[in-house]
Subunit: 286 residues, 2 copies
């Protein structure tokens, strides 16, 4: 896992080199959140998937960086006073607390935009342009109104009282980007259709397990590990898997969805890294 | 001009058809600003350019819609309380006044994202995928930190006291997208390099003339025509071409830059529509 994180960090830094210009504040704001102890889960899933499908994981690096930028932009905008109004993220003041709301909004916009700048310039020998466009389309759909943004809208528009709506919300808000991380890795590796479907199923189930685990950590985690106050879901009067099914059943569900994710990978011989990743996530503390 | 506006309106409506889903509020918010009496200047420039370069303008329609969505998202975010804090836009309450700040931020995000969804799915027979990627790259660069967003950052970070900085700001904030409107039209039409350069020069000069005209209208225009209060630049203590060089000289500059724009088109036989557009913009009231 560590080597994929290092590949991602190095590539992200290379994309974030800028000259001293009148708009340099925006680069500082983008970097502040992009290099703030992120787990790099989505890039790692994408790179591991490309490898599992038989490709050099490096061919997925531009998309891995793009998806991390999209994830980061969503956190900056989520934290804004008009949304979740959070002061802390990963143990640091949130972007708008440091740079002000105007720059924080623009830094989010800029990271989303930069993601598409990077992938539109994708130029790796052996990967055809049609495949690149397919991958860009998968990325754009997963971050849009039928994906991540759609989930965020449901989150601020409802209190998620029923299980069906909560599942729908999670499948969009966190699930869509995690799914596309794997699917894009498979697309770029030119995987067979059944392989891509298996990856999709893996990520879908892993995403649900991940999100339920987040709910659990918001109740049982420590502020030092999480880098933000616990109990924020309760404070925001939001339903979660915990309030709807209780802690014990939620833990069972994390295990169940993780197992389902792992089972999806049966078609791959070379699945060790992703199985290991899935098992590690069950016991994560942040 | 009217026929290009109609083509754009029709295509925009086709892209904005959505099912009744829990996140439907976001579609309402996107539509509210997207169909709010916009001039469709950027799409018109793109479609006219594609035509002038010998292509069927319809091949540029997906990009024309995408650029209008990006323009619209920038207006929604610019109007937010954390930015210009405007209550009116084109005679209607601004997006956040109607939908609240959270949804307005997400509606902006969603329009930017949707622009890239549309262009990544571009599939017009005869236009090769490499050309599509070049056009997406031009679009993404013009709306990013070295383009529109960069200009917005300079705008909120400075009072634009000197002419050099003001020119830089204008070249990014309005100029970059107007330039890419023309350039993308030329790219999709597979224009020769000297033709693309001529289009770029036309749009660059037209963009400056357009922006200075905006400054003039903020002083001399009527609120009824503009659909928003006049004098907002002065109220925000922002330097403009008027405060830096006076009204008369600003008018001269609009004429000068418009003429320079028109002269750039000399290489094209079929340049009547764009010349006409440039001349119309000098006498615009809104």
């Amino acid at each position: 896992m560590q080597k994929y994180i290092e590949m991602t960090e190095k590539a992200l830094h290379a994309y974030m080199k800028f000259e001293d210009k009148p708009q340099k504040k925006i680069y500082e704001a983008m970097e502040y959140s992009l290099f703030a102890r992120g787990k790099r889960l989505r890039p790692v899933i994408m790179l591991m998937t490309a490898k599992m499908c038989g490709a050099d994981p490096a061919i997925a690096l531009p998309f891995a960086c793009a998806i991390e930028m999209i994830h980061t932009y969503s956190l900056i905008h989520d934290d804004l006073p008009a949304m979740d109004n959070d002061d802390l993220r990963r143990g640091k003041p949130t972007n708008h607390k440091v740079f002000g709301e105007g720059i924080a909004i623009l830094a989010g916009d800029a990271l989303l935009n930069k993601a598409f700048e990077i992938v539109s310039e994708y130029d790796v020998p052996g990967v055809c342009k049609k495949t690149v466009l397919r991958a860009i389309s998968a990325l754009a759909q997963s971050s849009g109104t039928e994906g991540m943004i759609g989930g965020q809208v449901v989150d601020i528009e409802s209190r998620n009282e029923d299980m069906e709506l909560l599942k729908y919300l999670y499948s969009l808000k966190t699930g869509a980007i995690i799914r596309s991380a794997g699917v894009i890795g498979a697309i770029l590796a030119e995987a067979e259709e059944d392989q891509t479907a298996a990856v999709d199923s893996f990520c879908l189930n892993l995403g649900i397990a991940f999100q339920i685990q987040d709910d659990i950590l918001d109740v049982t985690g420590s502020e030092a590990d999480l880098g933000k106050p616990i109990g924020s879901d309760a404070a925001n009067h939001k339903s979660t898997y915990i309030t709807l099914c209780g802690l014990e059943k939620s833990r069972d569900m994390v295990n169940k969805y993780t197992q389902k994710a792992i089972d999806s990978l049966a078609v791959f011989e070379n699945r060790g890294e992703l199985i290991n990743l899935a098992e590690t996530l069950i016991s994560r503390k942040a």
